[in-house]
């Protein structure tokens, strides 16, 4: 068990000595996961709205399918993306296999169901009376949707955060379509996988600590954002009469 302690020391050392390799892997990891989460949020929160605010045949079935996709295996998504973007695949002409771009695309596919599904849940948590109130005060369809989205803002943010969690922690897809190319498509998870494979458990653990630390930082930042909001509310709740 002594190597847990060693790894921890190593992790600290790697971080504070400014180890170029570790920093570039970390930066690449954040770059890819944040891009895929942001693009995913921009695409799938509106999709969630579209599904939630429209009534159509098979809506329930669609939502069930989306929820099922929460647990889509990352290697399976990796395989699909691989088939689509490999030289012989339908989008092979783009030649983006084994690039960060294709990793972002893959992760977008991965976070899509989660962001869409949780956004739908977030919206359905808002009383329908809110939307009707907006409409009765003269809101257009789009304006009324915006009101509901604003009411659900914290829950929607949570949806995006969960999506980010999935993106930053997955390894199967990154390995399959990214190829773990050093200095190019190597991210924390693939690096850990590789280092463990070649026996450098201490480095793996150190990278693992960094990954957890990143998750922690992001969570703390998001929570602080929410807390600030809550404090606002708490302050305004103080009775004035």
């Amino acid at each position: 068990m002594h190597y847990i302690g060693d790894a921890f020391v190593l992790a600290i050392k790697l971080i504070f000595t400014g180890d170029y390799e570790v920093y570039s892997i970390t930066a690449r990891t954040l770059e890819i996961s944040i891009s895929s989460t942001l693009i995913g949020a921009l695409l799938f929160v509106p999709l969630g709205c579209l599904i939630y605010f429209n009534n159509f045949r098979g809506k329930r079935t669609l939502i069930t399918i989306i929820q099922t996709c929460y647990s889509l295996p990352t290697v399976f998504v990796g395989l699909l993306v691989f088939l689509v973007f490999s030289r012989a695949g339908p989008l092979g002409i783009f030649g983006i296999m084994f690039t960060p771009q294709v990793m972002v695309i893959g992760q977008i596919v991965l976070v899509g169901p989660i962001v869409t599904g949780l956004a739908i849940s977030a919206l359905s948590g808002v009383s329908p009376a809110i939307r009707e109130t907006a409409i009765s005060l003269g809101a257009s369809r789009l304006q009324s949707v915006w009101v509901v989205l604003k009411e659900a803002r914290f829950a929607v943010l949570t949806a995006v955060m969960v999506g980010f969690g999935r993106a930053i922690s997955e390894v199967g897809l990154a390995l399959m379509v990214g190829g773990n190319i050093r200095g190019y498509t190597r991210v924390l998870t693939t690096a850990i996988s590789l280092e463990t494979g070649i026996g450098d458990v201490a480095l793996s653990l150190a990278l693992g600590f960094i990954l957890v630390a990143l998750a922690l930082i992001v969570t703390v930042l998001a929570n602080r954002f929410l807390k600030v909001k809550e404090a606002d509310v708490a302050q305004s709740r103080a009775p004035t009469s």
Binding site: S127, A129, E132, T133, I135, G138, R141, S236, R237, S241
Partner: protein, 356 residues
């Protein structure tokens, strides 16, 4: 201003509204009154263009409302609705009230001025920074009212705005509504299940029972001349004596009620099955049979007395049940006790005759 023609609405198999016709003039306060579940809210939702009717037409300011979203939005921007349990946005009181103005592209000083004015009108100055979700029921209702008024709608729809409030908040809201109506030429369509509230606020009333408008007229008319048993029951006519017209001489009828004869004014013919409706406050009580102009006097035994506030409600058995409402002071001075035999009188003009 608002015209509703042959409006029908159903949810699945349940028919909520049947053949509603309505005509509300500009500047008028029209109150639909009816028991809970009679379709009042549905009618307001249809007029507020939140739902589309199963069939029938709605005209707003002379224009037929059609199915085009664009036209519906345009019309919706000229009206505002306050519901029974208003929802507030998760935002400050100021932002709640400002919402309608913001989506009408109003901003800056004029927006602020209008919102502050509206808050002042509803007595919520100083509340603008409060989280709207922390307000009490009465305060929430006032925010909802301010939020609707601030956009200066041509037609204001109020759905039982005081149904969930205590008496103090209720009278506050009623006062506000009256003030607002006086100040502007707003047309108001309001629903309530409170007969007295209807009387206090309405220029005209429509009685909505079981999805149908059974009677429209000014509040006094509905209160004193209900057209059917259902309406009479709803407006609180406690004495409804079933009988048959035995004679009609120049509009003065004798109604045979289980052997007793009640004199009344009616143009219905002999043999008609009718109800003789007498409001409890129209009945006077006496220890001895006095000679008065009242055409109907019956001797009865007092079976029950209930005091509430300054009034005493007395039930008599005159061969048929009769309820009288007198002041507590009268009851005390007459020393009325259960079992006493007393005379109950009412004028022929105090009897309202409706067909069975």
């Amino acid at each position: 201003m608002l015209k509703v023609e042959r409006l029908h609405h159903s949810y699945g198999k349940a028919e909520i509204l049947k053949n509603i016709d309505l005509d509300v003039e500009r500047g008028e306060v029209f109150v639909t009154i009816g028991p809970t579940g009679s379709g009042k809210t549905t009618l307001l939702r249809l007029v507020g263009l939140l739902e589309k009717p199963t069939s029938g037409h709605i005209y707003f300011d002379g224009h037929l409302v059609n199915n085009s979203e664009r036209q519906r939005l345009e019309i919706r921007r000229r009206l505002a609705m306050v519901s029974q349990k208003p929802a507030v946005f998760n935002a400050s009181v100021f932002d709640n009230v400002a919402y309608g103005l913001k989506i009408r592209k109003e901003n800056g000083a004029s927006l602020r001025h209008k919102v502050m004015n509206a808050l002042d009108t509803v007595g919520l100055s100083g509340y603008e920074r409060r989280d709207a979700r922390t307000l009490s029921g009465g305060e929430t209702q006032r925010v909802a009212l301010a939020r609707a008024m601030v956009i200066e709608p041509e037609l204001l729809l109020l759905d039982e705005p005081t149904a969930n409030l205590d008496p103090v908040s209720t009278s506050h809201i009623e006062k506000l509504v009256t003030e607002v109506i006086k100040k502007s030429d707003m047309t108001v369509l309001m629903s309530t299940h409170d007969m007295f509230q209807g009387q206090r606020l309405a220029h005209r009333m429509g009685v909505l029972i079981g999805g149908e408008i059974l009677q429209t007229g000014d509040p006094r008319e509905i209160f004193s001349l209900p057209q059917s048993r259902k309406i009479a029951e709803f407006v609180g006519v406690e004495n409804m004596l079933g009988g048959v017209i035995a004679s009609n001489i120049e509009g003065i009828v004798d109604i045979n009620v289980d052997g007793a004869v009640v004199e009344a004014i009616s143009n219905l013919g002999v043999g008609e099955q009718v109800y003789a409706c007498i409001r409890p406050e129209e009945i006077t009580l006496a220890r001895t049979k006095e000679s008065t102009s009242a055409r109907n006097t019956f001797l009865g035994e007092m079976t029950r007395i209930v005091m509430f506030g300054p009034l005493a409600r007395i039930e008599l058995d005159c061969g048929f049940p009769l309820v009288a409402l007198i002041t507590k002071r009268s009851a005390e001075e007459m020393n009325l006790q259960i079992g006493n035999r007393i005379y109950a009188s009412f004028k022929a003009t105090g009897v309202h005759v409706i067909k069975k």
